[in-house]
């Protein structure tokens, strides 16, 4: 017997339901990570959705078939209505994930969220030691707080997922990072190499690891995996390698408007959390129902199917596999979101990826030279 099934059909031929809903509750955050995926101009975001508006979004999403729900941000803990939203979501039948920096969390909240029905808390770290962690996060007390909260999460009986964003300044710590996770009793460890959108794109030269760094890290992860297997440990290591070192693009979001629906703090509905940077008009949950947004809005239908594809994607026999890669990456690197993702070696713009790799071999910038994600820096991106 094999447990899996083909994907379900939705309300329109060829369009399945949005099985994953990401609720970005706020862009406010106590940390300043220079690889944040939030928009550069987040500080000009208009009023956040109210509790009632979020509840309506959760209900509509669940009705359409969404089963996985992420509470993210910014730092979702800054919303005082988080316990209420968790309880509503759980009661609707969502599997609820809280994606947090751990700042603002307390043992009492960890337990209260559990009582409200929260299924999982993912705590992010910036490094395996306090000095580097706090320098990247732009916060002096972050590391100790994260450690305490990781322990509280474990203590309360949640499955434990620890997330580390990997870049050239912490990629040498792979062994230490995994060993820290083992000591904390993690079930899953996400070693997610930086993806270059938002602030990370702005800081790409100062973040992107070199090929040599990456190869060393991969070898270290693989060796650790073998040790874990030998010791019978169930801890799973998920190493997301950077697509800048691939020759074929990733099947971004499993296809545009295929599974994922992000709702931004101001109600903008997006096919992924970066899509806001594209020159496309996206609908808002304040004006339309999630159903009409998902199935009928021009924004969500823009890159569905393959009739929009130019060459080399149009005639490519892999177009059903990777959907031409990532629209945001195509836009950021070529100025036109219709183009093939330049990660693809068939792309006429692949030289831009090669140039980034070359730059990574010679980069010397220190952490202090990065642009940190905070409201002051954000204002520079819309005041002109």
């Amino acid at each position: 017997m094999n447990g899996h099934h083909a994907m379900p059909a939705g309300d329109r031929p060829g369009i399945g339901p949005p099985l994953w809903l990401l609720a970005e509750l706020t862009y406010r955050c106590p940390l300043q990570c220079p690889y944040c995926s939030n928009p550069l101009d987040f500080a000009q975001t208009e009023q956040e959705l109210t509790t009632e508006e979020w509840v309506r979004v959760l209900r509509q999403g669940r009705e359409m078939g969404a089963a996985q729900l992420g509470f993210s941000g910014g730092e979702p803990l800054v919303r005082p209505d988080l316990p209420e939203l968790i309880a509503e979501a759980r009661q609707l039948g969502y599997y609820t994930n809280l994606i947090t920096s751990g700042l603002g969390l307390t043992e009492a909240k960890v337990k209260a969220f559990r009582d409200a029905g929260l299924d999982h808390i993912q705590v992010s770290f910036q490094a395996s030691d306090p000095e580097l962690n706090n320098a990247v996060a732009g916060s002096r007390k972050a590391f100790d707080q994260k450690l305490a909260m990781a322990r509280a999460v474990k203590e309360a009986g949640y499955p434990m997922v620890l997330n580390f964003v990997i870049h050239r300044h912490n990629i040498h710590q792979m062994g230490d990072i995994i060993s820290l996770c083992e000591r904390l009793g993690a079930d899953y460890v996400e070693l997610a190499t930086c993806q270059y959108y938002g602030w990370a794109f702005q800081n790409r030269e100062g973040l992107m690891p070199s090929k040599a760094q990456l190869q060393t890290a991969e070898a270290e992860v693989n060796a650790y995996r073998e040790r874990l297997a030998e010791s019978g440990s169930a801890m799973k290591l998920i190493f997301v390698t950077p697509d800048y070192y691939e020759e074929r693009p990733k099947a971004c979001m499993n296809g545009w408007g295929s599974l994922f629906l992000t709702v931004a703090p101001d109600g903008a509905a997006l096919p992924c959390h970066s899509a806001r940077l594209l020159p496309i008009e996206f609908p808002n949950v304040r004006e339309s129902s999630l159903h009409s947004i998902w199935y009928d809005s021009p924004g969500f239908n823009h890159y569905r199917g393959d009739s929009w594809m130019p060459e080399p994607c149009r005639s490519c026999d892999e177009k059903d596999k990777d959907f031409g890669g990532c629209r945001c990456q195509a836009y950021l690197l070529t100025g036109n979101a219709d183009n093939a993702d330049p990660v693809c070696s068939k792309s006429p713009h692949h030289d831009r990826i090669l140039a980034a790799r070359k730059a990574a071999d010679h980069a010397t910038a220190g952490l202090e030279e990065l642009t940190y994600r905070n409201a002051n820096n954000s204002r520079l991106f819309f005041r002109g």
Binding site: N2, G65, P159
Partner: protein, 91 residues
């Protein structure tokens, strides 16, 4: 390795099994992940409650599906696979 009939399977902590009308299927939900189950996998996991043994589950399913004949081998194979996938644990 064969599965002992007196072992008791249970879902791993953090895993949830539920019926999803929109997918017309049972699913397993876990941190940031979901597996859509086919009918037979759904029928077996529905009986996994941390109380009943493999033998109990086989007996229940054989009563539910009398036309299927002996199910011990199929159920055992599936549960072993589910353990390897880290969906369930045995006590």
């Amino acid at each position: 390795m064969t599965l002992a009939m007196e072992q008791t399977p249970r879902l791993r902590p953090g895993f949830r099994f539920q019926w999803e009308p929109a997918q017309n299927a049972h699913v397993l939900l876990y941190p940031e992940g979901m597996v859509r189950l086919n009918d037979s996998a759904g029928a077996v996991l529905k009986e996994v409650d941390g109380q009943r043994t493999v033998a109990d589950i086989v007996e229940t399913l054989e009563q539910q599906f009398p036309e299927a004949g002996s199910l011990a081998e199929d159920v055992g194979d599936f549960l072993k696979d589910a353990e390897q996938q880290h969906w369930i644990l045995f006590t």
